[in-house]
């Protein structure tokens, strides 16, 4: 009997602690990022989370005068984890899409994403139309793959991969004539792979990157919005931007 009471008390205590409290100053905000999307989120040699997203997260929390803990979560489970209250926000270069809006709420954008096509230098591809009849790769479940399926599905051989790195492998081995990806990780990859380049114009899909919070968590969302505006205004954003890219990515 006593054991049952203690177990019940323990469960109530755990529930009380894990119940997502209303956002307030001085709180600890749990933030999730992926850790596999350099230069926005990745791991350094010691296993710590680093990158643009991580720096922005820390800057926003400092602006809001709150503590931040940042954890890594695989991309496939990142939204389910937010909904299940494993953490309070996702700062992992997540695009605002209508489908995602059904599960989460988004703050204002903190940078913009374009899609770009990569190919071997000297491939002769100069426009999107040149991709007709060629094999084009993308990572499954990304905005890039959806664009490729919707726009190139009929005219090109679109191949989908489980990870971005697997797609890079096939690009370098010659299986893919071209690859579509978000511009910034692609830019990062091109720095260490000189035989490849961007081709064709950038594809503007009106893709804005924002922070995801649980549906209805308006206080946290407004707080992030105010903080984003503040770090844009006072130059903190520009400093972080300059660390990674020679151009403004907002």
């Amino acid at each position: 009997m006593l054991r049952k009471l203690l177990t019940a008390a323990a469960i109530v205590a755990i529930a009380a602690f894990s119940a997502g409290g209303a956002f307030a100053e001085g709180m600890t905000i749990r933030i999730a990022t992926e850790g596999a999307y350099p230069p926005f989120n990745g791991k350094d040699a010691a296993g710590n989370l680093v990158g643009f997203d991580v720096d922005i997260a820390n800057a926003l929390c400092a602006e809001m005068k709150d503590q931040c803990t940042i954890v890594a979560q695989d991309w496939d489970g990142i939204i389910p984890g937010l909904v299940a209250n494993k953490y309070d926000a996702i700062i992992a270069s997540m695009s605002i899409t209508d489908e995602r809006k059904q599960s989460v709420d988004f703050t204002d954008p903190y940078y913009s994403n374009y899609l770009r096509v990569m190919a071997k230098t000297g491939s002769g591809i100069t426009s999107i139309d040149d991709l007709a009849g060629k094999s084009v790769g993308a990572e499954r479940s990304t905005v890039a793959s959806q664009w490729a399926e919707d726009n190139l599905g009929r005219s090109s051989d679109v191949k989908l991969y489980d990870t971005q790195t697997a797609a890079y492998s096939d690009l370098t081995s010659g299986r893919l004539d071209a690859m579509i990806s978000d511009i910034y990780p692609a830019y990062d990859w091109l720095q260490s792979n000189p035989g490849y380049e961007f081709v064709a114009d950038k594809i503007d899909i009106n893709d804005k990157i924002a922070i995801a919070v649980r549906k209805g968590d308006d206080k946290l969302r407004e707080a992030f919005n105010a903080a984003i505006k503040a770090i844009r205004d006072d130059g903190t954003y520009a400093k972080i931007n300059a660390k990674y890219f020679p151009f403004d990515i907002f």
Partner: protein
């Protein structure tokens, strides 16, 4: 040849559209809206299954012939082949052939490059190699469990090794091993789902792609149902063939008196 290929493609698209038009009124919206994708994947899986099982069987026959030939020069490589392909996971074999050999690129593979470039071909190759090892062992089990009397009688009649194999040993070994062989075909169907990891849009690949858009778990259930339909149909066909292969005298005798049935 090219014309045949084109009309085959048109046939597949027509089948897919036709099936979906028929299924549209009776299936939930989530399935109906993506139906053609599911059915396209179903057809790809079916193609892979048919080709890999047929070619795999042919290869298995060669392997088992080598294995039971009694000549070490043939039987030892055959044994090594089955050991390696049965001792490693299918996914590892697939990635070795796709990513491993693929890294050699056009320069390394030369005229074979157009083959290794495509996930479908590499997937087919891997499935053929893998299933042939299992089927070879299954056939070997059938051959070794054949009643010795028949083999001796054939030898006494003066039949050579090849004739013995062709007329007496092999057909009966196949009948004995048929249930195990049928089981392997189902395992081949389930293993074929792994080709979705190398860009092939089979039923599993389509299911994962559709799921990635909406994260609705029911998508996986629809995929599972389609696999079950295929597995069920295959099982029925296999049972039908088993029925046709059964020798009535032997089967009746076995049913009446289990002690005299051919031992497994």
């Amino acid at each position: 040849m090219f014309e045949i290929a084109k009309s085959y493609l048109k046939l597949k698209i027509a089948m897919s559209d036709g099936v979906c038009a028929g299924l549209d009124p009776i299936t939930p919206h989530l399935f109906a809206s993506q139906c053609t994708r599911f059915i396209d994947g179903f057809i790809v899986t079916l193609e892979l299954l048919v080709f890999s099982s047929l070619i795999g069987f042919a290869v298995a026959v060669l392997i088992v012939m080598a294995r039971v030939s009694g000549r070490p020069l043939l039987s030892i490589p055959a044994q090594a082949y089955t050991y390696v392909f049965r001792g490693t996971p299918l996914l590892v074999q697939l990635w070795i052939l796709y990513y491993g050999l693929g890294s050699l690129g056009e320069a390394g593979l030369g005229p074979l490059w157009p083959f290794f470039k495509e996930g479908w071909w590499v997937g087919l190759l891997t499935l053929v190699l893998n299933t042939s090892a299992y089927v070879a062992e299954i056939l070997r089990g059938g051959i070794e469990n054949l009643p010795r009397g028949q083999v001796e009688a054939a030898e006494a009649c003066g039949m050579g090794w090849w004739l013995r194999m062709r007329r007496i040993i092999f057909p009966q070994a196949l009948r004995i091993a048929w249930p195990a062989y049928g089981n392997e075909i189902i395992l081949l169907l389930k293993g074929s789902a792994l080709v979705s990891t190398v860009t092939v849009l089979d039923l599993m690949g389509q299911t994962r792609t559709i799921f990635a858009r909406s994260y609705n778990l029911s998508i996986f259930l629809y995929g599972a149902i389609l696999y079950l339909v295929m597995a069920g149909a295959i099982t029925l066909i296999l049972r039908f063939v088993e029925h046709r292969m059964a020798i009535p005298r032997v089967a009746r005798k076995a049913a009446a008196d289990p002690a005299t049935a051919p031992t497994r």
